[in-house]
Amino acid sequence: MATEALHENETLASLKSEAENLKGKLEEERAKLHDVELHQVAERVEALGQFVMKTRRTLKGHGNKVLCMDWCKDKRRIVSSSQDGKVIVWDSFTTNKEHAVTMPCTWVMACAYAPSGCAIACGGLDNKCSVYPLTFDKNENMAAKKKSVAMHTNYLSACSFTNSDMQILTASGDGTCALWDVESGQLLQSFHGHGADVLCLDLAPSETGNTFVSGGCDKKAMVWDMRSGQCVQAFETHESDINSVRYYPSGDAFASGSDDATCRLYDLRADREVAIYSKESIIFGASSVDFSLSGRLLFAGYNDYTINVWDVLKGSRVSILFGHENRVSTLRVSPDGTAFCSGSWDHTLRVWA
């Protein structure tokens, strides 16, 4: 028995030193390729002018903190979820509420619109992700058609339909992400690797294939192969929880927002962080990020109630937007890039253009 334990200790020790060696080699190789900074490459790019972006619509109706929102592909409808347990579908042009459902739990931290526009998914402290078909029949009770799809062992922090209404990707406080079949509720793939709660995820633009990125309380951003369940790339440069991740429109990079008060850009082909968006005066965490259509602008919502607009290439802030009266918790640019919507702990959502 003693010899077995000794053998195991030797194996563990040799594996540890192999890991150290590999890490050292990786860092050396990566350093060789780090020949320039992104903002240096962008030095001769014309600077951006003044931006006039204002709140064009305010969506009022939630009784408590807005935690999440998503746009419908029709570029006008929005679904939002709140700490009060309500999920509301809005027409952002008219600000009318089209649907509302009360979840059996409070803190509905995640919601998503189905690609067809015919259903929404949501979940939170109930540890589940449920799908509700949207019906315009006034006699139909939306809650009656509810379908429980995902089951985690801790809160649901994020959810997203894949390219169709048939599959949903979820992220959870249980440290995992998972891919589910909506019809059967079957678990198709699970993604293990985060060392703590997973707080966010984003699917790669469909042209770039079957991957997604997730961010967590372990300060790591991880890129996953959806078919194999394998982590293909991992990035650990943030100094605190990563609250939001979003792919750059080309699919070759992604941005992250963190409690360390910075947003960062990671290039997937260079396999490293290539930009950091921060200022000494910004000391509150960034809760949500999204790119404008061309990828030149990065919109980031912060816990100090503001939205900062960053020049992605030059690394400088181009605008600061005031309006919310509490933390900005969620932010998404509309599908056609004409506006972006922010949700806040002040109970409202604002559409900016």
């Binding site: 590999l22 190789e29 020949d35 790019v45 931006f51 990079a253 290039d267 061309s294 004409t338």
Partner: protein
């Protein structure tokens, strides 16, 4: 036994690192140039960047029409 599970965990770490080591990276200068290129090529189609006029942005105040 806790010993064997830490060996198994360590094996996974080594496997992951080997996977990452086999990754063909591009130089930052090349990657950055491509990001810049994408931005510039798509700039004119980015309404929030160009500040698209009221007539094309459904959220901006519409000019009032009068019927003659």
């Amino acid at each position: 036994m806790s010993g064997s599970s830490s060996v198994a965990a360590m094996k996974k770490v080594v496997q992951q690192l080997q996977l990452e080591a086999g990754f063909n990276c591009v130089k930052v200068s090349q990657a950055a140039a491509d990001l810049k290129q994408f931005c510039l090529q798509n700039a004119q189609h980015d309404p929030l960047l160009t500040g698209a006029s009221s007539s094309t942005n459904p959220f901006r105040p519409q000019k009032v029409c009068s019927f003659l």
